[in-house]
């Protein structure tokens, strides 16, 4: 039996079908989870898809934070289960303080919809373990509030602890700083995605779930989705995930 991975559906989610498709290609059995239900239906992993949950009112992701399903997701994350947030899903995780930092309005003010290159920092995490090798991955971004921000102390701690997951890179492979062409939104230190201190919750602005078939332009995202699926299967069978750590005291709460 294939592993069941939940895709949370908020009012305003619009990448849920892409997420379901990607999970199927990655060998999982997707399960749609409705935002008003706190029942995760026994899934072994969670994917928070892109979109505009609750219309992005107030701030992207903040209303979703208080939905019944997110209380259940927070419990699932605290127990060590794998959670991946993509785009709006990353914004929800950040507002819920399940991953460090915040996503600000894009530096250029425009909604940006284009292909980017992002380089995984580590190959031994629950969300990168199935990537073939460390190389820039091509996939799209589509967001208006994707500028990753945290204070310097938090950024330093993320780098020290290995919790920066992916960075935007320029065509020459160098890390794309806030004003570089490879950086679509002004993210500090080129950060495209991060994870929590325990290592089992990660978010990123680019869309690996829409880069899972070569016919659509890139299948570079499939390794990330497959990593989530493999980690969910491991979690289901052993109750732990390779590459995660015991929870540490909250960081970057300033």
């Amino acid at each position: 039996m294939s592993v069941r991975v939940g895709v949370v559906l908020f009012p305003g989610s619009n990448r849920d079908i892409d997420a379901v498709n990607a999970l199927r290609i990655a060998g999982a059995e997707p399960e749609i989870l409705w935002h008003e239900s706190a029942d995760l239906a026994g899934v072994a992993g969670i994917l928070l898809p892109g979109g505009f949950a609750y219309g992005d009112y107030l701030r992207a992701g903040v209303i979703a934070r208080f939905s019944p399903v997110m209380r259940a997701v927070a419990d699932f994350a605290a127990a060590g289960g794998p959670v991946l947030g993509i785009c709006n899903g990353f914004q929800v995780l950040a507002e819920a303080r399940l991953v460090p930092g915040a996503l600000l309005r894009n530096r250029g003010l425009r909604f940006v919809c284009r292909e980017v290159r992002l380089l995984p920092e580590h190959m031994d995490t629950p969300f990168t373990r199935e990537l073939d090798r460390r190389r820039p991955l091509r996939m799209p971004v589509a967001h208006g509030e994707g500028c990753y921000y945290a204070d310097d102390a938090t950024l330093d701690a993320l780098e020290r602890d290995g919790d920066v997951m992916w960075r935007y890179v320029n065509p020459d492979g160098s890390v794309a700083g806030p004003d570089d062409s490879g950086n679509p939104n002004g993210s500090l230190r080129g950060i495209a995605g991060v994870r929590n201190a325990a290592g089992n919750v990660a978010g990123l602005m680019p869309h690996p779930e829409t880069a899972v078939e070569a016919i659509l332009g890139s299948d570079d995202g499939l390794g990330i989705i497959r990593s989530l699926v493999v980690s969910a299967a491991e979690w289901a069978s052993t109750g732990t995930i390779t590459g995660t750590r015991p929870p540490t005291p909250a960081r970057g709460a300033a």
Binding site: L58, R59, V62, E95, A102, L104, R105, L109, G186, A254
Partner: protein, 87 residues
Amino acid sequence: MSEPVSAFRFAVNVTPKPGILDPQGRAVEKSLPHLGISGVSGVRVGRRVELTVAAADAAAARAVVDHLAGELLSNPLMELFEVEALA
């Protein structure tokens, strides 16, 4: 018997923290020369939320507003808020 409840009206002003890049403020500032206005700087764009709280007294109402302003209306990583009591 329940305590008497009054209505208290507040405004919560949310602004980007100092030092946080505010591209909206920058865009507003850059547009001012087109209006023929010069000498304006430090434009920061925020949000104002007005609300009414039913509570036993002003202090209790204020506590409710402080709580929701910090938890929901602002993100402490990037924003500051000020609560203003309205008449």
